[in-house]
Amino acid sequence: MNFLALSPQAAYALLASVALLIVLMYWLRPRPLRVRVASNLIWRTLDMAQRPALDRWRWWFSLMLALATGLSIALALTRPQAPALGGIAQRVVLVLDNSPSMAARGEDRISRWEHALERARRIISSAGLASEVMVLDTLGRTDTPEWVSRETALAKLRGLAVRTSGVARMPLVPAGENIAAHLLTDGVAHLDVSPDMAVESVFAPADNIAITAFDAKSSLHDPTRYQALVQVFNASGRPKQVRLALTGENGFALERVLNLSAGATINQTLDVTDYADGVLRAEVRAQGDGFQLDDVAYGVVVPHRVKRVLLVTAGNRHLQASLGRLPGVALTVIKPVQIRPAADYDANVFDRFAPPERPARGALLFRPPPVTWLPAFGRTTTNPVITRWDQSHPLAVNVSWRGVHMQSAALAKLSAHDSQTDVVLASGASEGVLVAAGGAASRGITGARWIAVGFALDDSNFAMQPAFPVFLGSALAWLTAGAETLTHGLGYVEMPHANAKVTGLDGRPVAAVSVPGATVFDAVRPGVFTVASNAGTTQVVANVIDPQVSDVNRSRFAGESVAVTPTSGLPRFGFEPWVVLLALAVALLALEWLAYTRHRTV
């Protein structure tokens, strides 16, 4: 027999002491009152009638009752463990795989997660009543690992849920002689499982049709045309007929019916030019789909009409030609003296010119003269070399500055205020800024975006570079872009905007946490989230878009059948042994009281 409260030696010593004490108390109990009576003559007649030599038996009966009561209480204090009473107390570690694939439902329409929970409850129930349980998950969503009671563990299970994002990792599982560790998983996530751990499969094959890629973008050949690329994956073990629907605002809808064989992937390109701008939603539907998370994907369609661009130059043939050849651009060329403030253009390009006031629309400036709304490109240097640039900026995509040479250039010196608001695109060897870009609220002046290049095209070979049209196209796209759109997977999204408000597609606020210099929110479902702050507005498109996630049948247990078998060794009583012993002691005390009041005991 094991004892939880004491070592076996101490427990047995306690029991022996209690027994000895009780026996001594019976031997040394106070002497009865001696009463002098006239005669025992009549009492002796009663003795013969009522005391048939049972005194000794009564004494022994009393002693046995007292011993049983005392030992029951003492034994309860030791918290004994007996299989016949409450099962053997042990420490049970339950690791539940709560990666996204656990949400998949098999033919029984019960999710793997629900199977895992049921299995976990049975494991907890089958443990001894005094067992301690540690509940862990593979995505680290549980609290600090700790040993808790069975009841608390069951409550913790109720608080666990399948996560829609994150990488499943095996948590640190304590090991020990009396520790039984169980991993409940569908085998999809790759987990480093200890050999001592019992792995219990909750895998059941599930049908799944998923969108594994979705993007909406303008055509390279014609920016005024917009296309949506949808990749649909049949992760089921059987062919599926899939209904693909694209929907947007103002009743925009497209639908396709696709037939996919088992494990097949199909790409669909749909023309969404008619959808002017806004959120585009793609959804696949199929009979018996058991995993809904990847059935929906979102994209954002930006305005894709012809851009009206004003070029202000005293004369620059290469620049004019390059702009004129850009698809989707309607170019107007004027001289600086012809400029009018009220002109209605989508973007401006200034060559060796800069208006004194910040334009209402975006502006690309080559070798601008000093103006207040731009960083001062004052210090002129000869033959500067571009040493580094921000490759993550949209303006730098597919543009290499390494081969650009220039005879002279003006380097800007950014103040601390500028460095906070402006984006440095490229800088020279003498640590000056050659190309800079500003946001909507740069230098404390509200207006459109701007891009300032510190050298003139006439003084460099930049206009001859193959990347020059790309730069111009990217620059015009950046200058005319609306709200910034970021794509992200599900899970925690950290936006570099402090104290930003996050709203969902329905306009309702989404719980977000502000951290120094950023705002973090949890994208648990695919959707488009709007993050608004003083620095601007950004749209975050969150999609699953991961074939690894969608392939819910890629399990190490594939081919094995799941069966939730009832565990054996369920406790016989609903209470711990010490509770039973205390109840027994109470019953014995009641029996003793009854026997004493009825004079069966001494």
Partner: protein, 294 residues
């Protein structure tokens, strides 16, 4: 000086009483009780023919004038009544408050005084395992105080054995009379062996059974007690429970009823007296009501 056994007023009230016996008086001295023989007396009994030598004062001359023959008038003789008052002085009599011994001593004094007033011959015998002390053949009103003094000097102690005591006392010839036994009748050998001796002597007996309240309900109710026999006849351990107490009382009542039945069978008087009662009430009312005193 001990307190007087009986108050003066009570003694005066006792002066008017007389002990009654079912048997005719067998005393040889003149007394106030009818004897079963004729002789000097006040109550006419019979006639018999005159015989020479008879006292001429007893000749009924009226009958002679009418019948012409001499007849002598016979009268019932009035003799004294021998009263033997046995007071149990065993240790069991000393138990209780007031003790049965004290109560019995006062009853003995009262009965002795009544005897003295009525010119009876009173013998006071203190008995336990045998005869402890005795004061026999006291007679006359002036014997009350010596008798009281005798009683006051008695002390309780020793075992009870009526059989031995009675056999010892009546081993010598004693005139038949009234035997008053004042005791709790808690003889270890039982009450019958002792009383059987008296029955064999064909004596008139008055059994005065004294009961102390503690005889009914010993101390230590609802607890474990060791009952110690006052006469050293061992101990018994009991838990005094209501049920046991009930059984004890029933047994005690049965014991008393057995004594009463035994006395009734033999035509004896039997009176049960609680020691917490007033002795005046017992003597003046209870004994008179039972016909033991007139």
């Amino acid at each position: 000086m001990n307190a007087p056994l009986l108050s003066h007023d009570f003694l005066r009230r006792l002066d008017r009483l007389r002990l009654a016996s079912n048997e005719p008086a067998r005393g040889h001295l003149k007394g106030l009780h009818r004897a079963n023989r004729t002789g000097p007396g006040m109550e006419f009994a019979d006639y018999r023919p005159y015989s020479p030598g008879d006292d001429l004062k007893s000749v009924d001359w009226r009958t002679y004038l009418r019948l012409g023959r001499l007849f002598v008038k016979l009268f019932v003789e009035e003799a004294d009544l021998p009263i033997y008052i046995f007071l149990d002085t065993s240790a069991s009599m000393g138990v209780g408050s007031p003790s049965k011994f004290e109560f019995g001593r006062r009853i003995a004094a009262a009965l002795a005084h009544i005897g003295f007033v009525n010119m009876d011959r009173v013998s006071l015998i203190a008995v336990a395992e045998g005869i402890v002390r005795e004061r026999s053949h006291l007679r006359g009103k002036n014997q009350s105080w010596p008798a009281f003094e005798f009683l006051q000097r008695l002390e309780s102690g020793g075992n009870t054995s009526f059989e031995a005591a009675f056999k010892r006392y009546f081993a010598v010839p004693r005139a038949k009379g009234l035997i008053v036994v004042i005791s709790d009748f808690l003889d270890p050998a039982g009450f019958e062996p002792g009383l059987r001796v008296l029955r064999n002597l064909r004596q008139d007996v008055l059994a005065l059974q004294l009961i102390s309240p503690s005889d009914f309900e010993p101390a230590g109710a609802d607890s474990e007690v060791v009952l110690v026999d006052s006469e050293g006849n061992g101990e018994s351990r009991h838990r005094i429970t209501p049920a046991l107490l009930r059984a004890y009382r029933q047994a005690f009542d049965a014991h008393c009823a057995a004594i009463s039945a035994y006395c009734d069978r033999n035509g004896w008087g039997h009176v049960r007296a609680m020691t917490d009662a007033q002795i005046e009430a017992l003597v003046l009312h209870a004994l008179r009501k039972e016909g033991l005193l007139r």
